[in-house]
C-alpha cells in the first residue's frame, strides 16, 4: 500500500506571533518553522502502519524552498520518499486540494493521511475538498485507525462523542490530536534521511496551476484577555455563571 502524507510548513506553535508593519501578514523575521503538528501526527500514523505492514510512505509539501527542511524531518521520522512541489504562489484550501489531487494521481496513492487542519490558518478544509475532488470516501478527525488490505476502520472525534466508520480503500483520513504521540526524531534517522529521495517538481510538472480565491484584507492580534477574579464559594461561582454576561465554564 502506498500512503501519501501531505505536510505543511507552519510557524512553531510555541513561538510568539507578531504582525509585520502594515498588518498584512505575520512577521517571519527570526521565526522558527515546524511541520504542522496535526501533519506530524499523520506522518507518525503512516510510519506506524508501514512498520506493522510494510507500506510505502510518501510525504509531499507545496511551497517555497524552505519546505525542504520539513520534508527532511519527515524522512528522518521514517517516510520513504518526499516530493517538494516548489512554488512561491499563494493558494487557498481548494487550490491546495487541487494540486494534491494531481500528486495522488501521479503517485497512484492508495491512502491519504493528513492533518485535520493547519495551525496557521486553521481552515480545516483541504482534506475534505481533496476527498470530493477524488470522489473518495473520507473520515475526518481520526483518533483511531485500523486497516485491512481493502478497508479502513476509523474512530472519529465529534462534538457529540466518538463515531466509528468503515470505508473502502482508497480513502482519506484526517488526524486529530489524540490519534498518536509522535516519536522523537532519532539521530540515526536524521542521518539516514540525507540519502532518501527528495523529488523537486513544479506545478507545471503536475499540469496544475496556483489558485487562490481568498484575499487577506488585514490581520490583527487577538484582543487581550482581561484578568479573572476569585470567587469565595461554589454558590457564588454558579451565580456568576448564570447571571454575568460572557461568563462560561
Amino acid at each position: 500500500m502506498k500512503i501519501l502524507v501531505p505536510i505543511k510548513r507552519v510557524p512553531d506553535p510555541y513561538a510568539r506571533i507578531r504582525l509585520n508593519a502594515d498588518s498584512s501578514a505575520i512577521d517571519t523575521t527570526g521565526l522558527k518553522f515546524e511541520i504542522n503538528p496535526f501533519d506530524e501526527i499523520a506522518i507518525e500514523e503512516a510510519v506506524r502502519i508501514k512498520e506493522r505492514s510494510g507500506s510505502e510512505v510518501v510525504v509531499v509539501s507545496i511551497g517555497a524552498a524552505e519546505c525542504e527542511e520539513q520534508l527532511r524531518k519527515a524522512l528522518a521520522i521514517g517516510a520513504d520518499k518526499a516530493i517538494h512541489v516548489e512554488t512561491v504562489e499563494k493558494f487557498d484550501s481548494l487550490g491546495i486540494a487541487k494540486v494534491l489531487k494531481s500528486v495522488v494521481q501521479r503517485e497512484s496513492a492508495d491512502l491519504v493521511i493528513m492533518g485535520k487542519q493547519a495551525i496557521d490558518d486553521d481552515a480545516n478544509q483541504a482534506g475534505q475538498m481533496l476527498a470530493a475532488l477524488l470522489d473518495w470516501p473520507q473520515a475526518t478527525f481520526a483518533s483511531k485507525v485500523e486497516l485491512t488490505d481493502s478497508t479502513a476502520t476509523v474512530t472519529r472525534e465529534t462534538d457529540t462523542g466518538q463515531e466509528t466508520l468503515q470505508m473502502p480503500i482508497p480513502c482519506i483520513i484526517t488526524t486529530d490530536l489524540r490519534l498518536n504521540e509522535p516519536r522523537y526524531v532519532a539521530l540515526p534517522g536524521i542521518i539516514k534521511a540525507r540519502t532518501k529521495p527528495l523529488d523537486k517538481i513544479e506545478l507545471s510538472d503536475l499540469g496544475a496551476t496556483a489558485e487562490c480565491n481568498v484575499e487577506v484584507l488585514s490581520m490583527s492580534q487577538p484582543a487581550g484577555r482581561s484578568s479573572g477574579r476569585k470567587v469565595a464559594s461554589v454558590d457564588e461561582l454558579l451565580e456568576a455563571l448564570r447571571n454575568e454576561k460572557g461568563a462560561a465554564i
Binding site: L31, R72, A186, L187, P188, I190, I191
Partner: protein, 546 residues
C-alpha cells in the same frame, strides 16, 4: 554538516591570542539536520529528564539506567564515536551541541556526558580496532555505561602521582589500587583505569566490571548531582589482559590528558545546558513574583543579573563552538594513511589552551548564573520547594572536576609560554583594550611561571580576550548576515566587553604589582548600556534569547 566549511583559514592552537578578528564558527550556522538533532536532545531533556529529577535525586533503582538506555536508542549513546563501532561518527562540534541541549539537569548531564565522553573517547581515540569492536558497540547501544578512573584519594590535580599499580604477569597485568570520584561507577560495565606498571610507567587500561577483583564502594554523599553515581573503584589483584592497554605502556598520561582536553570542551557544553535552565527559571520567577505592586522583573537590579548572565553566556557559547570547530578541523586534517592513533593524539592536543579556557569561563558563567537565579528567588530560593536550589548545588562541582579551574588556569598560561606564544603576542598590534592588557600582562608574567597568583592573572587576561573577541566576532557575523537576533547579539557582546574590560583592568593591576612593576593602568571609558536590550530580550524569551 559540521561547521568546518565556515572559517576557511587554518588556525593553530592559541592563535586567538594574536589574530585580529578572524572569522569563527558560530552555532547559528549549524545546518537544519544539526538543528533537528539539537531539538530532539532538548525535547528529550525537557520531557523525559526534567519530570524525573526528584526521583533521580533519590537514586530510584534502575531509573537513570533506563533513561540512559532510552537516550541511547535515540542515538545519544555515542554521537561522535566512530560509525563502524555503533557510534554516529558526528563531528565534535555537533556532539557538543547535542550534549548542551541534553544538559538541562546536572545529574543526567554528568551521567550521559561521562558515558559518551571520557568513558568512550579514550577507546575511540587510542584503542586498537579489536578494543574498539569489543567495547564501543555495547557502550554506544547503552548495554552498560562507561566510566573514567583517574583520581585517587591522595591524587587529584596531581594526577600522575597516583599509587594504583599494575604488575606484568605473563600476558596479563595484575592491577591493584583504589580509584576515587568515579562518575557512573554504579552503572558502568567498563572503566578506563590509570595505573603505574611496576609503580613507574603510567598506563591506561580498559577494566571490565565483571573481572574478578573489581568492586565498587558505596555511593559518596554529595552536596549536588545526587542523581548521578559517584563511588570508588577498588581493584584487588585484577587480572587484565595486555591487549587491554590503551596506547602504549608508560604513555597513559597522553591518553589521560588528551581525553581531558576534549572533555573540557564538552564540560563547557554541560555547563551551557545548565545556564539555559538557570535563565529560564530565573526569568520566569522574576516575571511572576510581585513586590511593591509590580513584577520584580521590572527592577533594575534584577534585570542586571539576567543581563550579565546572558551576556556572559553569549561569550561562553561563542568560545565553545569556535573551539569545537577548531577541534573538528584538527581531526578532519588527520592523515587517513598516517598512524591513526598518533594523529588523533595530535588533534586532541592542538587546542588544549582553548579547551582549558572555555572550561573555566563556562563553568564560572554557570556559577554566576545559578547564584543570581537563586538570589532572584529570595528566601524561596533557599528552600527545596523550588528547583533553583538543586541547580545551584549541581553546578558547584563543575569548577572542580575535569581539572579544577585553578589547575586549568595554571596549565593554560604555562602552555601559552611553552609554545612560544608570548613572543608572537608581543609582535601583535592590540585590537582592543583587553588585548592590550593581555599583551602587557603576558610579557610581564612569562618569567614568573612559578608564581600561581601571577599566572592566574595572565590566564584570566587571555580568557577574557578569547571570550570577548569570540562574542564580538560572532555578533558582527550575525549582523553581516542579517540574522534576526543580531541586535541582541551586538548588545550582549558590547555589554560583555564592558564587564570584561573592567575585570581585565583589575587582573592586570594585580599582575603588574605582583611582578614588582608599576601597576598604573590607563582605563578607557566603557559602556554598560547594552544590558537593557539584553535583559529585555531575555524576559521576552523567558530565558536565553540568542
Amino acid at each position: 554538516m559540521s561547521l568546518a566549511d565556515q572559517a576557511t583559514h587554518s588556525s593553530s592552537g592559541g592563535s586567538f591570542l594574536f589574530e585580529s578578528h578572524p572569522p569563527i564558527a558560530i552555532p547559528e550556522n549549524f545546518d537544519s539536520d544539526v538543528q533537528l538533532m539539537a531539538d530532539t536532545a532538548f525535547q528529550f531533556a525537557r520531557n523525559e529528564v526534567i519530570p524525573l529529577i526528584e526521583r533521580l535525586d533519590e537514586q530510584e533503582e534502575g531509573l537513570m539506567m533506563s533513561l540512559v538506555r532510552k537516550a541511547c536508542d535515540l542515538g545519544f549513546g555515542g554521537p561522535d564515536s566512530p560509525e563502524a563501532y555503533g557510534g554516529l561518527g558526528l563531528p565534535k562540534s555537533v556532539a557538543t551541541r547535542i550534549l548542551e541541549m541534553l544538559s538541562l539537569n546536572g545529574s543526567f548531564s554528568t551521567t550521559i556526558g561521562v558515558h559518551q565522553g571520557v568513558g568512550q573517547m579514550p577507546i575511540a581515540l587510542f584503542g586498537t580496532n579489536d578494543l574498539k569492536s569489543r567495547y564501543l558497540p555495547p557502550l554506544t547501544a547503552g548495554e552498560y555505561m562507561g566510566a573514567y578512573a583517574l583520581s585517587e584519594e591522595k591524587s587529584g590535580s596531581d594526577a600522575l602521582s597516583g599509587s594504583a599499580k599494575a604488575v606484568c604477569d605473563g600476558s596479563d597485568y595484575v592491577l591493584s589500587g583504589k580509584k576515587m570520584w568515579i562518575s557512573n561507577a554504579k552503572w558502568a560495565g567498563s572503566f578506563i583505569v590509570f595505573a603505574k606498571v611496576d609503580g613507574q610507567e603510567f598506563t591506561a587500561f580498559i577494566v571490565e566490571r565483571d573481572m574478578p577483583g573489581v568492586s565498587i564502594s558505596r555511593e559518596e554523599h554529595k552536596m549536588g548531582l545526587k542523581g548521578s553515581s559517584t563511588a570508588r573503584l577498588i581493584l584487588d589483584n585484577v587480572r587484565v589482559p595486555a591487549e587491554n592497554v590503551l596506547y602504549h605502556p608508560g604513555q597513559g598520561h597522553k591518553v589521560a590528558f588528551n581525553t581531558l582536553n576534549i572533555g573540557r570542551c564538552k564540560l563547557a557544553a554541560m555547563a551551557a545546558g545548565q545556564v539555559r535552565s538557570a535563565l529560564s527559571i530565573g526569568t520566569k520567577y522574576a516575571k511572576e513574583r510581585k513586590q511593591f505592586g509590580k513584577p520584580i522583573a521590572s527592577f533594575g537590579l534584577i534585570r542586571d543579573k539576567i543581563a550579565r548572565s546572558v551576556s556572559s553566556f553569549f561569550a561562553a557559547e561563542s568560545m565553545l563552538y569556535r573551539t569545537a570547530n577548531l577541534i573538528d578541523r584538527a581531526f578532519a586534517s588527520v592523515d587517513p594513511n598516517g598512524n591513526e592513533v598518533e594523529e588523533n593524539r595530535k588533534a586532541a592536543e592542538e587546542f588544549q589552551i582553548e579547551c582549558s579556557l572555555v572550561k573555566v569561563f563556562a563553568t564560572e558563567t554557570l556559577s554566576y548564573a545559578v547564584d543570581e537565579a537563586l538570589q532572584i528567588h529570595g528566601g524561596y530560593g533557599f528552600t527545596e520547594e523550588f528547583p533553583v536550589g538543586r541547580l545551584y548545588r549541581d553546578a558547584r562541582v563543575m569548577r572542580i572536576y575535569e581539572g579544577t579551574n585553578e589547575i586549568n588556569r595554571v596549565f593554560a598560561f604555562d602552555r601559552i609560554v611553552k609554545r612560544g606564544l608570548v613572543e608572537k603576542l608581543a609582535d601583535a598590534s592590540p585590537t582592543t583594550v583587553i588585548h592590550e592588557f593581555l599583551i602587557r600582562g603576558s610579557r610581564a608574567a612569562k618569567d614568573h611561571l612559578g608564581e600561581q597568583e601571577i599566572v592566574a592573572c595572565a590566564s584570566d587576561l587571555a580568557m577574557l580576550h578569547f571570550a570577548s573577541q569570540s562574542a564580538n566576532v560572532r555578533a558582527e557575523q550575525l549582523k553581516a548576515s542579517g540574522h534576526a537576533n543580531s541586535e541582541v547579539a551586538l548588545a550582549a557582546a558590547s555589554h560583555f566587553e564592558a564587564v570584561a574590560t573592567t575585570t581585565a583592568a583589575s587582573r592586570l593591576i594585580e599582575l603588574l604589582d605582583r611582578c614588582g612593576l608599576s601597576a598604573k593602568v590607563e582605563m578607557p571609558a566603557v559602556s554598560f548600556a547594552g544590558s537593557a536590550t539584553v535583559s529585555e530580550a531575555a524576559f521576552e524569551a523567558n530565558g536565553y534569547p540568542l
